[in-house]
């Protein structure tokens, strides 16, 4: 797929996220919008997977440790063909497979149940060790994490363990958007220097623009090429990316757009923030 095509898919995913959150009347806006390029890269290039066979036993595994951002995963999965896009509007409603936070047993293709932060990397470690014993050391395991999530002690217990067993098939992608619920990460609980922290724990660290689809694809290729260490990609993203009034504003971490805000956001996304004319206008 060309870069242009991937970027258009990312824009479609962002529009789906806005529609889903408006319909759900609750949920997180900033994180999923910021992650749209990463999830486009993963589902449309990086991952070895089959949307028609979600339990294919040669698939790569994507664990979403930042479960609150799951609308972006649902939208990426629907656009990739896991299920009909119409189902996206059932998000957070009674009886839906699309729970407010991801539940493995509800929707095929989700690899785990998450929401409470800090548990994804530990599960990746168990999976990597188990797959190695199963004679499948080649299957890659990707873990997305929020940056606020790095406040959790469980993350660093796991970060210490993965290099011990040289679990090189694990690639962590940290969504470094600098915001969490109560404000900027560096005022809530300073995280920097993140590169030095992960390196000190024995990880191969890459820093990229997380809103550049090609940069995400390249970084994942580099992570696979390094076979002596697990890799941590610090992906710098813009929270609320693509919607001007949401970008960089931590107030949008945990709230959905209302109808007027959603309308405005969708026009902006369709016109790529005023760069092109939308056929809908």
């Amino acid at each position: 797929m060309t870069t242009k095509q991937l970027e258009l898919i990312a824009t479609d995913i962002r529009q789906d996220v806005i529609k889903m959150l408006e319909a759900a009347k609750s949920g997180h806006s900033a994180g999923p919008l910021g992650l749209a390029d990463i999830f486009t890269a993963l589902y449309f290039d990086v991952l070895k997977h089959d949307p028609k066979k979600p339990d294919w036993d040669e698939r790569d595994i994507l664990l979403m440790s930042n479960g609150h951002c799951v609308p972006v995963r649902y939208a990426a999965m629907a656009n990739a063909g896991y299920f009909d896009r119409k189902e996206l509007l059932t998000l957070r409603k009674l009886g839906s497979r699309l729970q407010g936070h991801p539940e493995r047993t509800k929707l095929p293709g989700l690899e785990s149940t998450s929401g409470p932060l800090g548990s994804g990397l530990s599960q990746a470690i168990g999976l990597a060790m188990g797959l190695r014993l199963n004679g499948q050391p080649h299957r890659q395991i990707y873990v997305t994490m929020g940056d606020g999530e790095l406040d959790e002690g469980n993350v660093w217990e796991a970060a210490m363990l993965a290099p011990k067993y040289n679990l090189d098939t694990i690639t962590v992608i940290v969504d470094r958007n600098n915001i969490q619920i109560d404000g900027p990460t560096e005022s809530v609980l300073p995280l920097e220097n993140l590169r030095e922290k992960w390196e000190a724990f024995g990880w191969h660290v890459l820093e990229i623009d997380g809103n550049d689809v090609e940069a995400v694809i390249d970084a994942c290729a580099m992570a696979r090429a390094v076979t002596t260490k697990p890799t941590c990609i610090l992906a710098y993203t813009v929270p609320g990316k693509g919607v001007d009034f949401m970008e960089y504003d931590f107030k949008w971490h945990g709230v959905p757009p209302d109808h007027e805000q959603a309308k405005k956001a969708l026009v902006e996304l369709r016109t790529l923030q005023g760069k092109i004319r939308s056929e809908h206008e």
């Binding site: 493995r104 149940t113 599960q123 060790m129 469980n154 796991a158 363990l161």
Partner: protein
Amino acid sequence: MSDTSSEPIRAGFGRGLVKAGQLDHNVVACCADLTGSVKMDGFQKEFPDRFFQIGVAEQNLVTVGAGLAAAGKVAFVSSYAAFMPGRCWEQIRTTICLNEQPVKLIGAHAGISVGPDGATHQMLEDIALMRALPNMVVLAPCDSIEAEKATLAMAKDKRPNYMRMAREATPIITDEKTPFQIGPAYVLEKGADVTLIATGTMTPQAVKAAELLYKDGIEAEVVHVPTIKPLDVKTILQSLKKTGCVVTAEEAQITGGLGSAVAEVIADEGLAVPLIRIGMKDQFGESGDPEQLMHHFGLDAQHIRLAAHAAVERKK
């Protein structure tokens, strides 16, 4: 009951884990820096490639277990019960129970009989913590032989399991031929006057209490409950309807444990059956010799005997 033979319950777990590993190559084990204490050392020696030392990190321990289970492994994870499930309840709830990954959690050094280490290490709330979780099976074998059978049964069970076990030597009251399955409660002694329902280390005490009661002219029925959840309601109701009064005994807080579970059965069925619960009464323990502590906090055959007398009195 014979006092001649006793062994720590955890020794049976150690033997069972090695056997489970021999029977199924998918069995793996993880420990948090207590391999010898929790008796995983035999498995580690026999299957070094299937043993993972996690370090002193219980949140990571159980969550790595969830990942191993996701890869199709039968993952046994163990630490002291005070730390696991004590420190990592949310990870167990989300990544094991809600996520339906059949991890095998082994809580060692449970109960007050940990002794000199004191209240910090005497885990008394683990039954309540684990019993509250949907999908979780909660086990407390009464001796090392039953613990070995329970371990083999856990390795085949498709649900998340928690098994608690004590540090000190416990009298051996079962043998190789004694039946064991996950689920049933077992009537060890038949009697018509009072039901003694016990689990784990308190079952040998209940058997001893029944002997004392017999001399007092009271015929006690002893029901051993190795599976606290799901509870064998049928066997318990049969006994309660026969005897009309009951004493429960567990080396744990009476809040939320076996005694609470039996109280729920009595209330749900609308039975007018006097119930006296033996256990820690909403308090912490302290340092001391294990046997002295058990006596001090009323967790022995003598206290069960006195409670049985009181229960029989209340029937009248």
